[in-house]
């Protein structure tokens, strides 16, 4: 999974609406509030060992990490329209929007 990044800057993406914490012990770095949300790739940040494996001392293949930009207002139904949230998201949490 440390191949070339699947998404380029500007790509429209959607964060998977997945809730592994409901299935059992896990460690995930994708905050709840962006799951299922559409965002825009700012840029790939490089490939890093998957924290979901590192947390359990399992072999941890590298995954591409992205900076993804979201609009604040649709998430919270408050805030100024132009305000944004930028979050580091691993590739396996992203799909094409």
């Amino acid at each position: 999974m440390s191949d070339a990044p699947r998404f380029a800057p500007g790509a429209a993406v959607r964060v998977k609406d997945d809730w592994p914490e409901r299935r059992g012990p896990c460690h995930i770095r994708t905050p709840h509030y962006i799951r299922g949300r559409r965002g825009t790739v700012v840029r790939p940040l490089g490939a890093f060992a998957n924290p979901e494996d590192l947390a359990f001392a399992r072999p941890a293949p590298k995954r591409t990490l992205y900076h993804v930009l979201f609009e604040q207002e649709p998430i919270w139904h408050e805030g100024k329209p132009a305000d944004t949230i930028m979050v580091e998201v691993f590739e396996h949490w992203l799909e094409e929007a």
């Binding site: 408050e78 305000d83 930028m86």
Partner: protein, 194 residues
């Protein structure tokens, strides 16, 4: 204010240290040495980096593309430290850094994260109502400025490059650095006026 550790936590640390020492895993001396090293990191480093970026375009470019290299160029050892990303504030964009999941913070260049950064209130509110949090701390940004909250969730650590205050033309780096507070480097403030 953060409460002091409970007596049972102090006792647990003593027992854990004793057990680890008995197994030959760690020594009190190496912990003390590590602690002394960690204590040395401070926001003065981040402030010096910003002041240099304000006066040296080539360094500014390095800072924005490879924060770790920029820190090393200032003599900071970044061995083993996570990558450092630097976010540039502009007249139309203000960055605010938070870690909603834990307390990720650019410790190599800012030192220990302050208690407020680790607080439940900051972690939950900064991402949802950043303008309210900034206003409570005295920073009112006009609607023409985009507030970009940066939730530090993974392998990078993020520092803000604040805007250089007006009226500081000709100032040297040391004098400029005195305007760069730790709060400005996290984005809960702007650099102090001249």
């Amino acid at each position: 204010m953060a409460a002091p550790p409970r007596p049972e936590s102090l006792a647990l640390l003593d027992r854990l240290m004793a057990a680890l020492e008995a197994k030959g895993i760690v020594t009190e001396a190496e912990i003390a040495e590590r602690q002394a090293n960690t204590d040395k990191a401070s926001p003065e480093t981040g402030a010096r980096m910003v002041a240099k970026a304000w006066t040296d375009p080539a360094y500014r470019q390095l800072l924005l593309t490879d924060g770790k290299a920029a820190a090393e160029a200032m003599g900071v050892s970044m061995a083993g430290a996570p990558p450092l990303g630097v976010l540039e504030n502009t007249p139309t964009r203000h960055h605010l850094v938070v870690c909603t999941l834990c307390s990720c913070y650019p410790r190599a260049v800012l030192g220990y994260p302050p208690n407020w950064y680790k607080s439940f209130a900051y972690r939950s509110r900064a991402v949802r109502e950043p303008r309210a949090v900034l206003a409570e701390w005295g920073l009112n940004l006009p609607d023409s400025v985009e507030v970009r909250v940066v939730d530090s969730t993974a392998d990078y650590r993020w520092m803000v490059l604040p805007m250089r205050p007006a009226g500081t033309e000709g100032w040297d780096e040391a004098r400029l650095a005195s305007l760069v507070t730790r709060d400005a480097l996290v984005g809960v403030a702007v650099a102090k006026p001249a």
